[in-house]
Amino acid sequence: MDALHVAVNGVAHDLEGIDPRTTLLDLLRERLHLTGSKKGCDHGQCGACTVLVNGRRINACLTLALAHEGDAITTIEGLAQGDMLHPVQAAFVEHDGFQCGYCTPGQICSAVGMLDEARQGRPSYISGAAEHVELDAAEIRERMSGNLCRCGAYVNIVAAIRDVAQQVAES
């Protein structure tokens, strides 16, 4: 059993007795009782477990908790500021970007990370050598392909993310 020091949503945790088999997702859900991050496939294929580690989106199901010593983790529970929703959360509500809601925390965390990647000018397979990343629907779908929605709410998910991307571009 091992020790682990992580910051989750700005709160420092000094944890003891971590079984090395514990994934980051299980640590968040079972130990810290942050059940917003969802266990969908548990194989990195659906994206429901997506969280931000040091600002970058990853699949929490495919990474061991102990590999995150000293890391800063943001989950869906850490995005809003009090009662004020994060712009991506607000856009999902505005555009009805969900049906059952199970994939939604992962979709939103993934979108937050993806928008930051695009802002940094990081390329995608379809934007290729382009200097400026234009987040149109095709570009958003490619960059969000790690998040599946079994209800098929993609049209509204894309609209919500596009709305935020345009707000960012205009600000």
């Binding site: 090395p20 994206g47 970058r56 990474t63 061991l64 990370g113 790690g146």
Partner: protein, 329 residues
């Protein structure tokens, strides 16, 4: 998951030492493949040596004009790096065609090379597999073979290597830098992965306890004219049915030099040297491109479920070369 001990390596020598004398120990990188395999029971290490904090996280220009990529550079960072995008677009595109945004943020350069086949029988511990347990037999032979090899397979294994990144790197003549218990060595990437033969359990020539520290790309000025073309069952976040990494140097309509590698068709990234030889000194015509594909694919031995790959790869190579020839003209 079977129980294991976890330790974080403080430096490279300590990491290598931790593996020595521990046949059940494994290095842990981004974890995207290994953690999944541990959960599935495909991998059962009794000790994990986490090497992700080792300082192999830089991308540096080398004195000869090449680029040296640290083993821990994440796939997304490598794909986005200005040197890679400018000099080796085929590598950036290959990385971006693989996995998802989240996985690319986790996966490391060394881990990408060492990821294992996605053959469904390999990943299912309830079906016999010579790669998982030598001597058990190959369930893919006579089974579901849509995603399996057409080149270089054996009667023991018809699995393919799943990496896109490695296909581009093989085309670029990359070298793998390795630290072992007593020495360092450099392995040409084209010789790093193995064909299955009668030891399909061995994916690479790496010995137990050897640690990849970097991948070096030599200078290849004409790789500014390079691309990665991938064909798959869905448009994003899927492994290749076939893929082509290509770089082309053209002068006055004639091919001066070319680099070609194929993915999704063999147990290793397939350097297409016969196709390259067929193209050097020849005109950039579709007919010549097709002859090059045929020269390489003459040795193809498809399975009943993947005979389509021969024509698909031929067409993909011709299309990739036409695109490059058009861009270079």
């Amino acid at each position: 998951m079977t129980p294991f001990a976890y330790e974080r390596a403080g430096d490279a020598a300590q990491a290598v030492a931790a593996m020595a004398g521990n046949p059940g120990a494994m290095f842990l990188g981004g974890g995207t493949n290994l953690v999944d395999h541990m959960r599935l029971g495909v991998a059962t290490p009794d000790r994990l040596v986490d090497v992700t904090r080792l300082p192999f996280d830089r991308i540096e220009e080398t004195p000869d004009g090449g680029v040296r990529i640290g083993a821990n550079v994440r796939n997304s960072d490598l794909a986005a790096h200005p040197l890679i995008r400018a000099r080796y677009p085929v590598l950036s595109q290959a990385l971006l065609s693989g996995a998802s945004g989240q996985l690319r943020n986790m996966a490391t350069t060394a881990g990408n090379l060492l990821q294992r086949t996605r053959c469904v029988y390999f990943q299912n511990v309830d079906t016999p597999c010579n790669k998982r347990r030598p001597g058990d037999g190959c369930s893919a032979l006579g089974g579901y073979t849509r995603h399996h090899a057409i080149l270089g397979a054996s009667e023991h294994c018809i699995a393919v290597h799943p990496s896109d990144m490695a296909v581009a790197m093989v085309a670029l003549d990359a070298t793998v830098e390795v630290l072992g218990p007593s020495s360092e060595r450099r392995i040409p990437l084209v010789d790093f992965h193995r064909l299955p033969g009668d030891e399909p359990n061995r994916d690479t020539v790496l010995r137990h306890g050897e640690l990849i520290t970097a991948v070096a790309l030599p200078a290849l000025p004409f790789a500014v004219h390079s691309l990665y073309r991938k064909v798959r069952d869905r448009r994003s976040f899927a492994f290749a049915l076939v893929s082509v990494a290509a770089a082309l140097q053209v002068r006055d309509g004639m091919i001066e030099d070319v680099r070609l590698a194929f993915g999704g068709v063999a147990h290793k990234p397939w350097r297409a040297t016969r196709a390259e030889e067929t193209l050097r000194g020849q005109p950039t015509t579709p007919g010549q491109f097709a002859r090059a594909a045929d020269a390489e694919l003459a040795a193809a031995q498809p399975q009943p479920g993947n005979a389509f790959k021969v024509k698909m790869l031929r067409n993909t190579l011709v299309a990739a070369l036409q695109e490059l020839a058009g861009a270079a003209a």
